[in-house]
């Protein structure tokens, strides 16, 4: 091989054979490295595309299987029907009871988690000394890391019996208990995202307010919270989306009776709990009964997707740049 092909002029007579050979080998090696670099670049790209494939896979598999369902039941009937009874006759495929059950749980969870999560975030960001924060933050992380079956167990065996003392006619499976525990579950999510937003509010804004004679509370509520509002709102939306998609907790504690009600003392069924119920059952794959879960999952996917997109959009759109 002529080394001039690498664009190297050989130095007249001064190079021994070994020198040339060495140089040749080195360039071959760099050639190999270039190939390797190009190769790994493609491997990395493909790995990054796996995430795109996942999304495409979710959308396609849900749509294809749900199509088998919407072939028989019209989308209109599915979205507006008031009774959900795909397994028992007379069959009826109105998804609204599942949606209302899901929303009921989420609303109860929101009533618990929004004030408490925000209060926690304000305390951590504005009041807590560093030492306290360093203890409380990991504790909240543990709370966030506990599996949802465990929360379900807690709701069923502890919260429900306690609530039954207050409401003696409450059923064993009920929306209230599941919703309350769901609220506790999403507190860490709201507090950590909100706290991040509040911590990034510049100190000068606080100092300005203090200089005008504001109390700590006034600084927190009238300066810091409004400045961090986009982050806080996004935290709320993302946490609610999490609550809508949560599965095991509601399957265990909220019951399996699809019911169009806003009475939290009754048992309901959420969209996710229905999917689990049918997955556990013996409905044959490909049957209309079985395809209902894909229709419900598609609706669930669309709902959570909209909320997530909204949440991320709120952050980008209204972020205060300091």
């Amino acid at each position: 091989m002529d080394i001039r092909q690498f664009g190297i002029e050989s130095n007249r007579n001064s190079q021994t054979y070994m020198d040339r050979l060495n140089r040749e080998l080195r360039f071959k090696r760099s050639d190999f490295i270039a190939h390797e670099a190009r190769f790994v670049r493609w491997v990395f790209l493909i790995c990054a595309l796996v995430s795109i494939l996942t999304t495409v896979g979710i959308v396609i598999s849900l749509i294809i299987q749900a199509y088998g369902f919407f072939d028989t039941v019209s989308i209109w009937e599915f979205l507006t029907g008031l009774r959900w009874s795909p397994l028992l006759k007379p069959k009826s495929y109105g998804v609204l009871p599942l949606v209302s059950g899901t929303l009921l749980i989420s609303v109860i969870a929101a009533f618990v988690a929004l004030p408490i999560g925000l209060g926690t975030a304000i305390f951590l960001s504005e009041y807590a000394p560093n030492k306290v924060r360093r203890v409380i933050k990991p504790t909240l992380e543990i709370l966030a890391g506990i599996p949802t079956v465990v929360y379900g167990y807690f709701a069923l065996t502890f919260v429900t019996p306690v609530l039954q003392i207050v409401f003696p006619d409450m059923l064993v499976f009920n929306a209230l208990s599941a919703g309350l525990v769901m609220g506790i579950m999403i507190i860490p999510m709201i507090s950590s995202l909100s706290e991040d937003a509040m911590m990034s509010v510049p100190q000068s804004l606080r100092q300005g307010a203090y200089a005008l004679g504001a109390t700590k509370l006034e600084v927190s509520l009238r300066v810091v919270v409004p400045s961090a509002l986009s982050g806080i709102v996004a935290a709320f939306i993302l946490a609610l989306s999490r609550a809508i998609g949560e599965t095991m907790l509601v399957t265990i504690a909220a019951g399996a009776t699809p019911r169009l009600t806003f009475n939290p003392l009754e048992g309901i069924q959420t969209m996710t709990a229905y999917i689990v119920q049918l997955s556990l059952g013996e409905a044959p794959h490909g049957s209309l009964e079985f395809n209902t879960i894909f229709a419900v999952a598609l609706l669930l996917f669309v709902m959570t997707l909209c909320m997530n997109v909204l949440g991320h959009w709120v952050v980008r759109r209204w972020r205060e740049e300091y």
Binding site: I33, V50, S61, T139, V149, Y153, T157, T215, H285, H312
Partner: protein
């Protein structure tokens, strides 16, 4: 006149300070509710579960008789699933993170990748279960096996691993890389020789946390495995399986008091695994924190 206004001001100031004080306790209370909830949960689980915890609980199969029941099949299933999920997720997740941090051009296609990732992280886990059911179980006809389950969970935790890996890759100081470039290394050599070793502890921590998320997931696995009563341990990736959260769910959903106790004992085992993984992750994070910034 001025005195009167001063009085008014002072009165109002006292009120404002009083309210501020009251709210301090409200904020404190809200933290205590969160942490109190956690404590109540742990106490309840310990009280109910400890009497059921014994060695045979770990080495016996599930049974109709509560006093003989154990969670061997679920424990082994969880170990199988974790191992495979880790094997699938880590290489793909880290590679994707390297691409996004080091190679990806700043244009619309990269932005789509980013948006897609943040949305994937918000997809309910049960939806992943149905994806796995449709693609791995049915389309690729893997059946309700360990392999299908771990592939599904890999997709579920992939966004978490990518996110964590990206953060630790981004935290590698740029002068490390510049020094390597100055020595004539090309991009891939810099990544291989500098970026990955420095980012490794962070990647490891993120991976452990992602795995602990996967261990606790029941919903997607139920969609894949369905069966909740198994009296054998999977011996290959193509065997059927069950995992700890499903076994716990199975026990919780039985009306008898004894099974609730078993569920609590199962939860103790599950939480022990989870908390020790978290502890390892936190230990690693603290050990290596700031090292890359030196």
């Amino acid at each position: 006149m001025t005195n009167n206004r001063k009085d008014q001001f002072n009165q109002k100031l006292r009120l404002r300070k009083g309210i501020a004080k009251a709210f301090y306790f409200i904020f404190l209370l809200s933290i205590l509710i969160g942490i109190g909830g956690l404590l109540l949960l742990l106490i309840q689980v310990l009280i109910e579960g400890l009497p059921w915890l014994s060695l045979h609980f770990l080495t016996d199969y599930p049974s109709r008789h509560p006093e003989q029941a154990g969670l061997k099949s679920a424990l082994m299933g969880t170990i199988w699933i974790m191992t495979l999920t880790g094997l699938f997720t880590v290489p793909i997740g880290v590679s994707a993170a390297i691409y996004l941090e080091e190679y990806a051009p700043k244009n619309w296609s990269t932005q789509i990748l980013e948006i897609n990732l943040s949305n994937l992280a918000g997809v309910p886990s049960i939806v992943y279960g149905l994806l796995g059911l449709a693609v791995f179980v049915q389309l690729m006809s893997l059946g309700r096996t360990v392999l299908a389950g771990s592939l599904t969970l890999s997709l579920l935790v992939l966004p978490i691993v990518i996110l964590a890996s990206r953060e630790s890759i981004r935290a590698v100081p740029s002068y490390y890389k510049e020094a390597a470039f100055a020595l004539g290394a090309d991009k891939w050599q810099v990544i291989k020789g500098v970026v990955l070793p420095v980012a490794f502890p962070g990647i490891l921590t993120g991976t452990i946390l992602a795995m602990s998320r996967a261990i606790g997931e029941a919903a997607p696995v139920i969609a894949i495995s369905a069966l909740v009563y198994l009296t054998f341990v999977p011996s290959s990736p193509l065997d059927r399986f069950t995992v700890l959260p499903i076994q716990i769910f199975n026990w919780v959903s039985r009306p008898q008091e004894d099974f609730q106790g078993l569920a609590a004992a199962g939860i103790i085992v599950l939480l022990t695994i989870l908390l020790s993984m978290n502890a390892i992750a936190i230990y690693l994070r603290d050990k290596y924190q700031g090292k890359s910034a030196e």
